[in-house]
């Protein structure tokens, strides 16, 4: 049981950077970035391939850089070429499938057999005992989160936030929205790729289909976190991403352990959670309107 909870914590930290990336793209910039799935695999592919050739540390920034490139392509499509933002992400995602295969030397998965990973090297230092994986993943994730929050308080960060908050104002105030959207998507995708890079080395493998649906799961995590913590500030948003991710992985572990439903059923449950949470304001308005209609009918007699 403890082992299951430990794994859940590890996975929670490892995957937390995806809801954090979505916090930036979806919440702050108001863009549903469908690059996420392919970008996650890209991060894993670059990271595992480089670790296999003996560079587990270099693999991490390299994966992040690859993510930046993916984000740049999506941003370029939507800001410069007028491709609708959802489609821009889907198109990039499609292209990434081939790129990812290319990175993995045209095989559907690559594994690390006896190669060093950041995790195996960290274990040798003895820090954290048996919790070393959770510790390292948690450290990297929290560090990325702190840097993100600090960044969003800088001039450039404020400009990015304003772009998602009031584009009219941004256009009238010497900020170039093309630039801010591009920087925002590059950063969010570098976070997604960083998550992929860590997961790849943690599982000692990268799989071409390892990212399917990860954007929806990431949104679910973010929504769970925001439900627990509220969504007033940037800091809360970043913490919500991590907390939500850990809660999600705990739920996953419990389902897996208790077998109350088949684990495959979780995907449907996740999809329903996300759809309901995003539809919530509309449903609330509809309910309020029906209530008013009923009240008016009762008062007016008909």
């Amino acid at each position: 049981m403890l082992y299951i909870l430990q794994t859940a914590l590890e996975l929670g930290f490892l995957y937390a950077l995806i809801p954090m990336a979505l916090f930036l793209s979806f919440r702050i910039l108001n863009i549903a970035d469908m690059t996420t799935d392919g970008c996650f695999v890209l991060g894993a592919a670059v990271s595992v391939t480089m670790a296999a050739s003996g560079h587990p540390f270099l693999a991490v920034p390299a994966a992040m850089f690859a993510g930046i490139c993916a984000g740049f392509v999506t941003a370029f499509l939507q800001t410069r070429l007028g491709v609708p933002s959802i489609l821009a992400g889907i198109v990039t995602n499609m292209g990434l499938y081939t790129i990812n295969l290319m990175v993995m030397d045209w095989s559907a998965n690559v594994s690390l057999l006896k190669d060093d990973t950041i995790f195996s090297l960290f274990r040798e230092t003895g820090i954290g005992g048996q919790w070393y994986e959770a510790l390292l993943a948690g450290f990297i994730t929290v560090l990325a989160g702190v840097l993100l929050v600090l960044f969003l308080g800088t001039r450039l960060g404020l400009s990015i936030r304003a772009t998602g908050d009031n584009i009219d104002m941004v256009r009238a105030s010497s900020i170039n929205p093309t630039f801010t959207i591009t920087v925002g998507l590059c950063i969010s995708n570098s976070l997604t790729a960083l998550s992929g890079a860590m997961v790849g080395q943690y599982q000692n493998t990268a799989d071409i289909n390892g990212g399917t649906g990860i954007v929806v799961i990431g949104l679910a995590c973010l929504i769970i976190g925001e439900t627990v913590l509220g969504r007033r500030s940037v800091l809360k948003g970043a913490v919500a991403a991590v907390v939500g991710s850990i809660i999600y992985r705990f739920i996953y572990a419990i389902v897996l352990y208790t077998k109350i439903m088949p684990v495959q059923g979780l995907r449907l449950a996740t999809a329903v959670i996300v759809a309901l949470a995003i539809a919530f304001p509309t449903i609330k308005n509809w309910a309020a309107f029906q209530k008013r209609k009923m009240a008016a009918r009762q008062k007016g007699g008909r």
């Binding site: 960044f151 308080g153 009031n166």
Partner: protein, 265 residues
């Protein structure tokens, strides 16, 4: 200062909806001019402002500001020099960000080359606080609150402050008090007058209040059908009554001023 030379703009050209919103309009402003603009609905007043600010590129003509050719400069680059306020008080501020953060964004304009990673400093905060206190709205004690919590009038006053935090070379006011209740409108207008006078900003202001158009500033333009049909200043303007202004408009435009929101007094 501002030199507009026969600019034209047609929306939806080549379709049944084609609309010539500006037709060969020319205008020259001197530094320090405070010009009021009136005109019928659809005369092209807002379109003129949009052309100056670079919301779109004009089809013909050139726009110069202090000798610099703006004609093909993108909007965000022009907004370093040009401040703007719209009728809708929600347009000029980011509701999800705090008052302080909004002001910091406006402050970007001054520090063009400065580090993108600079954070809001203590000195910036002190400056924001001091400027906010000039509004007499108590906003200086609410700097950490999101702007979405403010009233329309407060947001418009804040937008005015943001647009002039770093004095722009040109300030465009598009009926910026029209959506506010009379008392608030009066207050925002007073603030506008004070700030424009103190910083000696060259300013163009669209209004639908005829009396205001004559009282404020040093020159009045009337627009009709995408052009300027009347341009009065100096002594002539000082002695002009609203009736005279309307008569002159009719002579220039060939029809009565029709604007269902026009206020004569």
């Amino acid at each position: 200062m501002l030199d507009i030379r026969s600019i034209s703009k047609t929306f939806n050209p080549g379709t049944v909806n084609a609309k010539k919103a500006l037709s060969g309009l020319s205008l020259h402003l001197d530094a320090g001019d405070f010009v009021t603009i009136i005109g019928s609905n659809g005369a092209g007043k807002s379109t003129l402002f949009n052309a100056i600010a670079g919301v779109f590129y004009v089809d013909e003509g050139t726009i110069l500001l202090d000798g610099q050719n703006l004609t093909f400069l993108p909007e965000y680059q022009r907004s370093r020099m040009i401040g703007r306020l719209f009728q809708d008080p929600l347009k000029g501020t980011a509701p999800g960000m705090t008052i302080e953060e909004n002001l910091a964004l406006a402050y970007l304009r001054s520090t063009k080359g400065s580090a993108p990673f600079a954070r809001i400093s203590k000195r910036d905060k002190a400056l924001f606080r001091e400027r906010l206190s000039l509004l007499h709205m108590g906003l200086e004690d609410r700097m950490k609150q999101p702007v979405g919590l403010l009233s329309g009038g407060q947001r418009q006053a804040l937008t005015l402050l943001m647009a002039t935090l770093v004095p722009p070379r040109l300030l465009l006011l598009d009926e910026h008090t029209a959506a506010l209740d009379p008392a608030t409108a009066e207050k925002v207008l007073e603030l506008t007058k004070t700030i424009v006078a103190k910083q000696k900003i060259t300013c163009l202001m669209i209004t639908h209040n005829m009396k205001q158009a004559l009282e404020l500033g040093n020159r009045t333009l009337m627009m009709a059908d995408g052009n300027i049909v009347l341009d009065v200043g100096g002594e002539e303007r000082k002695n002009m009554s609203v009736e005279q202004l309307l008569r002159r408009f009719k002579e220039g435009a060939g029809h009565e001023l029709d604007n269902d929101r026009i206020l004569l007094s």
